[in-house]
Symmetry: C2
DNA sequence: CCAATAGTGTCTGTGAGACAGTATAAG
DNA sequence: CTTATACTGTCTCACAGACACTATTGG
């Protein structure tokens, strides 16, 4: 490459097409918590984590489910703006909590050509949008099973479909607990989105304990029982009441409203209080 | 776009050049800890964090310092492989701790054209490579100053140059402590690398307390005093001896070797022990 | 002896885990 | 009264912060 006298002169002569370029996408892991129907009038409805998937209507992976995502327009938008645009398209909502998760760049992750994807994790209160989602999209409930031989089984179900994901976790190096995730014969979800899903679930599990991130998945008013259930479903374990209440004591504020219609002692309604 | 009967058929007809593409780079924040010369024979040498910068020899930002980095070859390598290739070029070392930091994608971050950069954080024991680094590269010591009005001042110095960075931190949203970093009139370092540096330093500060990441910056044998100093310089605060020793007790193993030549009670040498 | 660091003992307060107990709605 | 959840009191144990103390080298 020849040399130029000034930066201005250099930029004028610069032609980016001389270099190999590639396409990027933003993929979004939209996570929420849904209510399962209760067994009798007394029981409170159990919570489950759920994520939004869309059905592909063209090759590659035609008819397979995948995370909502789309190509970045490099001339006009940032990756986050791209993610927001896609979220708006699929859910009709703006103002959703969004954070960059990881950039996935395996050489063969897209059969068409080299496509690098930056994944975003989004959290939302499901009550905000159930009826507004796009017709090609659907919520899938998550069942998470950690097995002994460092394998994770994730089962995604909606009314019609069940998707099984098997992922092998191998420790990347000895000084941290960073794992490398590898699909075990994944034919059930498009691209490497099984890996993206697992990465996001682990991120959420970690962050719930040192941030207030969970309140992005809660309605404005909620009971502490509901909040505890959301913690439990994300952490995938039971929590003791007094310990839980100590943890969230200074994150919530009691309102003078009271839950009604439960077949048991009614709960006070709380709202999020920033520390 | 027309429809195809099979995935194979679709892929054969697919031409990625129809779509807008862009260039990607991998930038590396290589962090280490250096010894400053001691005042007298008794004192132990103080530690400072330092990072590797390279001087740009062409436009844009000609003659400015920046993080080592380079364009990804989309046909042959992953971003991590690209980062390793550049590290090898600059330091002549492989087997350096490397983790993906963040993907930076502001529209105007590169004056040439749209370039998205995935930054990697690398940690190394400086004794492994002082003399092997590339001639255009240099270690800069870091002075970190957090000011009251959510501003961070970072001063980078090597033997000849001093680089001042000023960055404004603004809270991104209320449920986490995620900040958005913005340069305050940065003319001293190329691209958005001031933001990358701050992101990496914050990541390191966080991770040191819940991982063993710090041992990637230590030699095989070290004293607990040295280790404590590394913690202190990364966390930017003094630690109490007994508390520190409790924290790292089950991460290190005492060897039967002893430090010599210090003007005071000699310390036992320890080595990293994986939990 | 002095300076400087190495290394330990122990008190105290905080906070999580655990369990038991009381409270209250609908039916 | 029963069922199921709401909510609280309190014991214990682990652990971090704090401070004081002893140990050991080179000069």
């Amino acid at each position: 490459m020849q040399k130029y006298k000034t930066e201005e002169e250099f930029l004028k002569a610069y032609n980016s097409k001389e270099f190999d370029q590639l396409s990027m996408t933003a993929d979004i892991l939209l996570i929420s918590v849904s209510d399962q129907e209760q067994a009798n009038y007394r029981k409170t409805s159990k919570k489950m984590m759920s994520i939004l998937l869309v059905k592909r209507d063209d090759y590659p992976y035609k008819e397979k489910w995948c995370l909502p995502g789309g190509f970045l327009d490099p001339n006009t938008e940032t990756l986050e703006e791209c993610a927001k645009r896609i979220l708006k398209k699929e859910t009709n909502l703006s103002n959703i909590y969004l954070e960059q998760l990881y950039t996935f760049d395996d050489l063969k992750r897209d059969p068409r050509t080299r496509v690098i994807s930056t994944a975003y994790m989004a959290l939302v209160d499901k009550k905000r949008l159930t009826d507004k989602i796009n017709s090609n999209a659907s919520w899938f409930d998550i069942l998470f099973l950690e097995e002994k031989n460092n394998t994770v089984k994730i089962t995604l179900t909606n009314d019609e479909t069940m998707i099984n994901l098997n992922i092998k976790k191998t420790l990347k190096e000895k000084t941290t607990d960073r794992y490398e995730f590898k699909s075990i014969k994944n034919h059930e979800i498009a691209f490497d989105h099984d890996i993206v899903i697992l990465s996001g679930l682990e991120r959420l599990k970690n962050k719930i304990s040192y941030t207030d991130i969970v309140f992005n998945m809660m309605p404005k008013y909620f009971t502490l029982g509901e909040l505890q259930q959301v913690y439990e479903v994300i952490l995938n374990k039971k929590l003791l009441d007094p310990a839980f209440r100590r943890i969230i004591a200074n994150k919530v504020e009691k309102t003078d409203q009271i839950q009604t219609g439960a077949g048991h002692r009614p709960s006070a309604l709380f709202k999020y209080k920033q520390k």
